[in-house]
């Protein structure tokens, strides 16, 4: 029983690994296309977000943790946005 479960887990891990590798290749490939600045940045950040979510959800088991831990992590991301948005409005442009 326990072994069955962990076999399934190992499959998931390897699938996630594959996805991460593909996404890495993808982001490098996209960067060679010389897209205009805004879509290029948006795409790169989007791919990074997907990769980071995969790692936190599966490798860090966020998916099976309760809401508390997800809340802690998301709260820090939220406050990061609170920091970056006004400052980028002020200095960034």
């Amino acid at each position: 029983m326990k072994n069955e479960h962990s076999k399934a887990m190992i499959k998931t891990y390897l699938a996630v690994f594959g996805a991460l590798a593909v996404l890495t290749a993808l982001t490098v490939m996209v960067s060679t296309l010389h897209l205009p600045r805004v879509p290029a940045v948006a795409l790169a950040v989007l791919i990074a977000l997907v990769k980071a979510s995969l790692i936190t959800a599966f490798f860090m088991h966020m998916k099976s943790e309760g809401r508390l831990i997800a809340g802690i992590f998301l709260a820090s991301l939220f406050f990061l946005l609170v920091l970056i948005i006004p400052v980028i409005i002020d200095i960034g442009f």
Binding site: A21, S31, A48, M60, E65, G66, I69, G92, F93
Partner: protein, 194 residues
């Protein structure tokens, strides 16, 4: 310490895991603050000094990304092995993780040498300053992670603190190691690709 945890736990989440996640939240803010500064000055500074793409060494950085991702998956496989009681597999996966950590640092040092020989130093431009600050701090975290991983490997083989029934600390080391990976996932495109 474990007796305290046994007597009182309102959430069911071990203290160590909760503490580790809180620590990671603060690390998000630390790296986030630095990355925000980078993004802000990259868009706002009149002379950021972004070097030509050819000088950035994208292939090496891509390789390093693969190295870290692989070490992450071997870390989580090591945890899985420990939970199932497969100690030799645990040992091999941990050794792989630690080795890949060193490989990452090796490639990174080569990159540093390469950058400096091309005239990109910490004082040459804002890009250089941010490049060495961000990757340097990340490398320090990698070193910290390797130390933690070696501790976990030794304890896992001794079997007293970490064993199939108490894999907690192995899990915390994993959380930290994956977090270091996540930071790199953001550093890589932001520094090298755009």
């Amino acid at each position: 310490m474990s007796s305290l945890e046994a007597t009182q736990n309102q959430t069911g989440i071990p203290n160590g895991k909760l503490g580790m996640w809180l620590f990671l939240a603060s690390e998000v803010m630390l790296f986030g603050g630095l990355l925000s500064s980078y993004v802000i000055l990259r868009t706002g500074s009149p002379n950021f000094g972004m070097p030509a793409r050819e000088l950035l060494g994208v292939p090496w950085a891509t390789l390093n990304t693969f190295v870290l991702i692989t070490s992450s998956v071997s870390m989580v496989l090591a945890l899985s092995a420990m939970q199932d009681g497969r100690i030799p597999a645990f040992r091999n996966f941990m050794l792989l993780t630690i080795t890949l950590g060193f490989v990452f640092l090796g490639i990174k040092s080569y990159e540093y040498w390469h950058k400096i020989s091309e005239g990109i130093t910490i004082t040459s431009s804002l890009f250089g300053s941010f490049y060495f600050t961000l990757t340097g701090l990340h490398a320090l975290h990698v070193i910290g992670g390797i130390v933690f991983n070696i501790y976990v490997l030794v304890q896992g083989l001794k079997g007293k603190i970490i064993n199939p029934d108490h894999p907690d600390r192995l899990e915390y080391a994993g959380l930290y190691w994956h977090f270091v990976d996540v930071v790199w996932v953001f550093l890589f495109p932001l520094i090298y690709l755009i």
